[in-house]
Symmetry: C2
Subunit: 539 residues, 2 copies
Amino acid sequence: MMDVSEGSGISRRRFLSAVGAAGGAGTMFATMGALGLAPTARADTYHPPRRADFALSGRSAAKVAVLGGGIAGLTCAYELGKAGYDCTVLEAQDRIGGRNFTVRNGTEYTELGGVTQVAEFAGDGYLNAGPARIAQWMVTLDYCRELGVPIEVFTNTNANAFTYNESAGMKSPQRHRTAKADVHGYVGELLAKATDRGALDAELTAADKERLLDFLQDWGTIEERNGGWRYLGGPRRGFSVNPGAGENTGTVLEPVPSLSEVFASGVGSFFSFEHDYDQAMQMFQPVGGMDRIPCALAEAIGTGRIRTGSRVTRITAGEHGVAVGYRAADGRDRELTADYCVAALPPHLLAGIPHNLGVEVRAALATYRDRLVPAGKIGLEYRNRWWETDHRIYGGITWTDLDISTIWYPSHGHHGRTGVLVGYQSGYRGDDDRAVRYERLPPKERELLAVAQGVKIHGAKFRDELTGSFSVAWRRAPHIETAWTSPPYDTAGYRLLNRPAGRVYFSGDWLSHLSSWQAGAFESARLVVAALHRRVLSA
Amino acid sequence: MMDVSEGSGISRRRFLSAVGAAGGAGTMFATMGALGLAPTARADTYHPPRRADFALSGRSAAKVAVLGGGIAGLTCAYELGKAGYDCTVLEAQDRIGGRNFTVRNGTEYTELGGVTQVAEFAGDGYLNAGPARIAQWMVTLDYCRELGVPIEVFTNTNANAFTYNESAGMKSPQRHRTAKADVHGYVGELLAKATDRGALDAELTAADKERLLDFLQDWGTIEERNGGWRYLGGPRRGFSVNPGAGENTGTVLEPVPSLSEVFASGVGSFFSFEHDYDQAMQMFQPVGGMDRIPCALAEAIGTGRIRTGSRVTRITAGEHGVAVGYRAADGRDRELTADYCVAALPPHLLAGIPHNLGVEVRAALATYRDRLVPAGKIGLEYRNRWWETDHRIYGGITWTDLDISTIWYPSHGHHGRTGVLVGYQSGYRGDDDRAVRYERLPPKERELLAVAQGVKIHGAKFRDELTGSFSVAWRRAPHIETAWTSPPYDTAGYRLLNRPAGRVYFSGDWLSHLSSWQAGAFESARLVVAALHRRVLSA
């Protein structure tokens, strides 16, 4: 089982415990050709429904009620619409997109508990409060291409950003490039020494040793001294004075810390992030905000088919159709009838809506109630882009062991007047306690807490240049009430919800192995659309 | 001495041999605060000349002849112009920018030897034939900010791009992410084993060991088996079938090659590139092509001050001024007189222009003739962006041991109809023989040779979808005749040229420790401008 999530990264431990000894070494090039050269395969090739499918079969498109205007619901309506299905989307909020929520100047938002925030961001600054990055392999990019949503790089890793582990005794932040140079250097030094001492003679042939030492010299910037291999620092650490013109050779950053100091600082604990399958660079974002995707979907669907402010109150499935009761935007109770229904709401909220789909479905949906993630983000707007001018950081993420976890520098608007940082992403990689701490605070206090931490990284400007903030704690988001879920893979309930309950289908990232990623919602929608269309064509 | 160059990377060996034992370990956090937190210092803070400088001193701005309309020359004219200096730029070519040369649809170019190419690139495809990337710390970005040249990410590293070492017996390319997972895995396995065996007890305390093993488990994805630490592959290698919806957990790329196979393949030899101070991500490029920078400089200078098609034929310096003879665009010989002169031409060509600056200057310039680099690039235009759709590669560089060295995927125009790859960057990191091989061929044959290599990475599409090409071999570029130079640092000649010869100053990346980078030209220009302005103010 894989749990790939924007929040939690690929769960390698989970993977390894499942793969077990089967993942052993093989012959390198035996099948590498097909694997390396060929386009990455998908489990099954998706064929969108077409109008021609009906023309050729003599059947006609059905009427479909789509519950939820997040990515899964919108994608179902969009894909079914390609073949002429008569889709209606019911969305409880007054905006579409679900967790795909871009906060920009004027955005008004009231969280559960009653606090209202209005974003006052100058210029083109925004906060992608939910999904913010797209990996190259994800189907999300295919939708950007198909829908004509321009993309640009999302900088997920930046050698100039910082690492800061206060609890490990670091007195000040260190740039990623410096941390890498030192860790690689000492790993190289140690492994070269052990190799020379014959400690690995059982594992290494003479040829292996030679190649390994060649690699370590280059990668670890180690060299042979009279006492054996040594890491001595060098330009990869960075410069305190940059090289320049004339006689300015630059001044390399010094002193080089000792081996014990480097490993005690824990700076290496963030290295693996950028190697994860879902987080490795290059990453992307839509130009102008992540909500360009749901906006483009809605435009393609036809906004007349989307009813916002419409909260589902009841689902009644019959032998020949489905009736969906909802409280409409005008406050009146209405009913939508259709041949089929796709329920693309958050599972734990769906669990609370009266329906006649059976106790097993009810129980399966209810299991998600214990699988919610309390993550959130804060956007901090500054009157100038001091991180670019003072620190030469153009995008990327600073990693810390503080309760803010990370600081994200914006990947757009470089050299502009103002900018919006992400001041924390709480709930990341399971640090739920930190997330709950922020979640419980009113927005202004979240800001004060986050800024107090950020000052430790960037000094007084982190407080003094601030012009405003906007925060979202996803468990307090109306009609959503979670950042994402940890689906109950390998259970009968998960399998049950991946099948239709009569004429009602379920869809969402919570029914995928890409939980928390938009790609999971897209993939789940495709799976449902393909199944529903097959059924209609063969009815 | 540092040699930082876009072509050759930071010369670590050179650096280490100079620093020697002085670079030993120190106390980690002693001075890290200032180094890590503070803005990166420059050798001296640059203060641009201002009109007020003259108003306050009672002196007036001088007339300056600037020879060469590359980055150094344009920057001198731009900076001096801020204080009202009367600058005239003489440029031999019919375009400005020098090696900052963006080839786009319609660009016509005749190389030495007489072959003319006309670019026929559809859409917004272009080739930055010279400089193509900007590091965050470089002054080049400050000029982009100041001049209002929008920037975007240049993708210098991409986990989805390939490595292919044919001579090491690789039968097919491997993605960078896969190569990294395997190399990190086996480095981790070996070092963990050696640590457990006590081979490093002299270097590691018990606490060091524990922290080291914690790091290696996470970073190397190793785990303890009954036989000790093992690398067994995992999701960081990539997937042959991506994780998706429902029951699709994805299929991890397998089999995992053996340790011997991994090091024999040499895939690790390209890892260090992305850790170099001048190449580490994030990198940037101007939106629309690198020549947006010289174009913006020219606009700020005033195009009336720039005489293109004007080849310098003679420099005569006197006690009170300088006379510059040149062959003008109309074919007639003319003379430009000025109070001062900045010679910002390629040094080996400047060496051939008659002047009265003395034999030492002549000799110093002539030393550059043996320090030229025969690099070049080819742009390959394709009718579709198969690297994005088929291989999910959005920008970045594939590394090979073939004579093309690298393939660069465009960092702009994602999801567009067409695109221009860089099919080789020859002359990179000292492989002059390969560069000379391409340089000697006519453009069409360069294309055939490059495409034949590229097919080994990407298959038949690399040939079949090609619509055109454009190549520049810099030693054959009129009035330039080198890609960059390897300056004679630590010589009397280099020092001499960094001082004015009477009223004639020299400027260019060839007088900097950032040779081959535009930043070197900018920094050199600033140095000259500051010195000239001080002199005028104190005259």
